[in-house]
């Protein structure tokens, strides 16, 4: 029963977005989309913990329900952000408009976007205080920035992936 309740909640959450909210300009902003999912996650956590405390559901259902909500929100936000701003997709879109293009022409067309992106990301990281400007004039990750770097470094070591630059 509790599984069906959460599936119904997720369905309603998605339906509300598709039928109404996506047409509002406010929901073009990622901060609004994040808040929309943040509120849903908080509601699910509160209801699930209350049900667990009352003995209505067990520990397995508690963790499973939270996992289901996180799968839905992660998938939605990932797809939303990919469709909104992926650099690789912009490159593919540029290619799709021409029958063929030389590597040099494509690099020339797309390199400016890379410079813009790097500048914006740097400002963004500074704005979030993930980077700090130290007394010697050098930028370095803040404590919070370091906490983000460490797990990603482990992932890079495990998977041998290399960064984009």
């Amino acid at each position: 029963m509790h599984w069906l309740v959460l599936v119904g909640f997720i369905g309603g959450h998605l339906l509300l977005y598709l039928a109404l909210l996506r047409h509002l300009r406010l929901f073009e902003r990622e901060v609004t989309i994040a808040a929309y999912h943040g509120v849903a996650v908080i509601i699910v956590i509160a209801v699930v913990i209350a049900a667990f405390a009352r003995g209505a559901i067990g520990f397995a259902a508690l963790t499973g329900l939270l996992a289901l909500q996180s799968i839905y929100s992660m998938s939605f936000l990932e797809l939303w952000s990919l469709a909104e701003g992926s650099y690789s997709l912009q490159i593919l879109a540029e290619l799709s408009r021409r029958d063929s293009i030389s590597r040099e022409e494509l690099i020339a067309a797309c390199a400016a976007i890379g410079a813009q992106k790097t500048r914006r990301r740097l400002d963004y990281l500074l704005g979030l205080k993930l980077l700090t400007n130290s007394a010697d004039g050098c930028l370095r990750p803040s404590i919070l920035g370091g906490m983000i770097v460490r797990p990603l470094r482990i992932v890079r070591r495990l998977t041998t992936v290399q960064g984009v630059n």
Binding site: L92, P141, V149
Partner: protein, 175 residues
Amino acid sequence: MWLALSCSGFALAVLLHAISVRTRSNPSIARNFVYISSSIAILLACIAFWRFAITDESIAAILIYVALSEAYLFLITLAATGVSVSLLMRLSSRPMAEDDLMRSYSTRAMVERRLDQLQAGGFLVEAGGRLRLRERGKALVRAFVIARSLFKHRRSFDVVGPVHDRESGEFSRWR
């Protein structure tokens, strides 16, 4: 027991993926993880239903495994393509002044790396010095045009042009 099943399944997926990317040539590290984790998910589901039948425990075991795998896949793509992550890691290894950092970044390399990744993933092909979209690349572009329409992303999908001066949001800024 059911929690140990999902955690050990996830650990096995990470381990097999780490071995796989080191022992054979992988066109796409992320796609390789999808194949490995999907195979383990099927095995895990069979074990969970055989051991616990259709109960909260078996469903929770599968869902937790899927959530962990999805989070790991997200981290792989972030570590591979995230510009913000790349900036953080570079400054973590070697702090430097803002101007030096911007000078050290090669926008050409950013595009070339992505072109190589897209080529390795079978989305485009280079022949006679010309790049062309393959059928898979065309399908991906079509899918994302639909996704952009679904999400009502009004920003143009053009690579060049003044519309790109508009700021994109927080999630996208990690890419």
